[in-house]
């Protein structure tokens, strides 16, 4: 497991069961996440990924009723005793569908909405909005209405709005589902930029590993509410390939191909994560 400089999220034996549900949504979660990590959180549909994310910004247990067990500290704050308004300064949340997140008359107002509600000075609000627009390249869009934007632009504006709250952690819950592949790439790059430029911790929930593998060093895999794998992405992909496949994690197709050929006894060595790695490994084995 990658050891980070300072822990920003620490969960110990964390569990939650929604009121009326038969089984806990998450259970026995032990997780520690360091500053500036870029983490991919994945697992089969209904495995508890979104529930875990809801705990991080306090939506659970503040807005969802149910039984909470264990403890969760986010940025040094105990989630169970902090109001969500405090937690929202620590954790920014970008939802799957940006249409659920944008509502102001234009982009600039939308981005300013969060900081305006923090009781900041005009100068500070201005500075935050400008900085958020700069890092997400949304400045040129500032006069436009949210509905005039493309999906990728909307998602970058949602990201900017979250950023203007100056959180230390940004959670992106399947942020590119509604986007075409090129636009999805644009959003992932914007998220990566936040870590590089501002030193934020990024947690992306995603089924498609190929989309995130370029940015995330660490992968956390959940199944039936528990963490079943946690560690370096390339290493987990290599060592736990069959487990991931069986869980229905969308492993990169080149990794799958390699694993099949390895079973056939035709190739040896670590499962590649990227097309380029697979291409060069296979090329070296071929004669013209």
């Amino acid at each position: 497991m990658s050891r980070a400089s300072r822990e920003i999220i620490v969960a110990r034996n964390l569990g939650f069961k929604y009121a009326g549900a038969k089984k806990p949504a998450i259970q026995e979660i032990d997780l520690s996440i360091g500053e500036k990590e870029f983490i991919l959180l994945t697992g089969p549909s209904g495995c508890g990924k979104t529930s875990l994310c809801r705990c991080l910004n306090g939506l659970i247990p503040n807005f969802y009723q149910g039984e909470w067990t264990g403890e969760l500290m986010v940025g040094g704050l105990d989630v169970t005793t902090q109001p969500t308004s405090e937690l929202s300064r620590e954790v920014g949340y970008v939802f799957q569908n940006p249409e659920n997140q944008l509502f102001a008359l234009n982009v600039e107002k939308d981005i300013a909405f969060g900081p305006e509600n923090l009781g900041l000075t005009r100068g500070e609000i201005r500075a935050r909005v400008d900085e958020a627009m700069r890092v997400t390249s949304t400045g040129p869009l500032k006069e436009l209405a949210p509905y005039e934007l493309s999906g990728g632009q909307q998602q970058r504006v949602a990201l900017a709005g979250v950023l203007a709250m100056k959180p230390n952690i940004i959670v992106l819950d399947e942020p590119t589902s509604f986007l075409d592949p090129r636009t999805a790439e644009e959003v992932m790059q914007a998220a990566d930029n936040l870590r590089k430029e501002l030193g934020l911790t990024i947690l992306v929930v995603e089924h498609r590993l190929d989309l995130v593998a370029r940015y995330a060093e660490r992968i956390v895999v959940m199944d039936a509410g528990r963490i079943v794998a946690d560690g370096n992405l390339e290493q987990i992909l290599d060592e736990k390939f069959d487990t991931l496949e069986a869980l229905g994690v969308g492993v990169p197709r080149v990794s799958l191909l390699w694993s099949m050929l390895r079973t056939d006894g035709l190739v040896k060595g670590r499962v590649p994560t990227h097309v380029e790695d697979a291409a060069s490994a296979l090329s070296s084995m071929m004669t013209d």
Partner: protein, 277 residues
């Protein structure tokens, strides 16, 4: 058959979303409509079930002009599953949700019950039948929305981004279900950005860009062409990118799915092994 004849559609805002589309969909067809965000894919889908009517040209569903029949009548023939499941869900339990359409169409209670059970089973939702749809995950809600349309067995099924939020096993399940439907003679049209899903399902691909059809063909022929794929903001499937590089060793370029890739490489690598002294 659904026939679009020279269909153009302009939104009240003035945006020309579809421009002179000609298209036929018939029983047994499996078609993927792909294109960039804003290409007009969803607008096209709404033409097929009469939710939108063409500004020019006409749309015929089994020879009936969509301008002359009600959306309710068309709903028996054309089922449209929206991208966002929350636009469709409202019942207290999954079972009621899936039964709603069937009851509305006037089926007998025992038929409704049987059909609901069958559909829930096929989509892996049986264990949630008494759960509120709103307690389910995004991926599960998406499947409930799909089940509620599938239950009434429309002849033409249009799925808007069916793979969003689905894990790989769910996608396989969906693929098998689609296969079953079109082998029974139903038509399945899916709108999707999921190049890997298309690469492995092998539908007929229609590429839409800025409201126009820019290419039609098999998944391997369309998705392995750089200029087409770039034009509609897609990326080539991983296998196609891999075989683009490997083509210099005499392997074909137009490989998009992993199983064909495996076969070709097994052959090639065994050959290479045999020639090593």
């Amino acid at each position: 058959m659904i026939t679009l004849e020279h269909v153009s559609f302009r939104y009240p805002s003035g945006l020309l979303a579809l421009n002179n589309i000609d298209l036929n969909i018939q029983g047994g067809d499996f078609v993927a409509i792909m294109g960039e965000n804003g290409a007009g894919k969803t607008t096209l889908a709404k033409q097929m079930n009469g939710l939108l009517k063409p500004s020019q040209g006409r749309v015929l569903v089994d020879d009936q002009d969509t301008k002359k029949v009600s959306v309710a009548q068309l709903a028996r023939k054309v089922g449209l599953v929206f991208q966002n499941p929350d636009h469709l869900l409202f019942s207290e339990t999954v079972k009621d949700e899936v039964a709603f359409g069937l009851k509305n169409f006037g089926y007998q209670p025992e038929v409704v019950e049987k059909q609901v059970e069958r559909t829930l089973e096929a989509l892996g939702l049986t264990e949630y039948k008494d759960t509120s749809p709103f307690l389910l995950s995004g991926g599960e809600r998406k499947r409930v929305a799909l089940a509620s349309i599938l239950a009434s067995e429309p002849d033409y099924l249009i799925l808007d981004e069916p793979t969003i939020g689905q894990d790989y096993l769910q996608k396989e399940r969906l693929r098998n279900f689609i296969l079953q439907l079109y082998s029974q003679g139903k038509a399945v049209v899916m709108i999707t950005h999921d190049v890997e899903f298309v690469a492995e399902s092998n539908p007929k691909v229609i590429l839409l860009s800025k409201g126009e059809i820019v290419a039609t063909g098999s998944a391997d022929s369309v998705l392995s062409k750089d200029e087409l794929v770039t034009r509609v903001s897609l990326v080539k499937p991983q296998m196609s990118r891999l075989f683009g590089t490997l083509s210099r060793y005499g392997l074909p370029r137009d490989v998009v799915d992993v199983h064909r890739a495996r076969m070709l490489l097994e052959e090639k690598l065994s050959e290479a092994k045999a020639t090593v002294p």
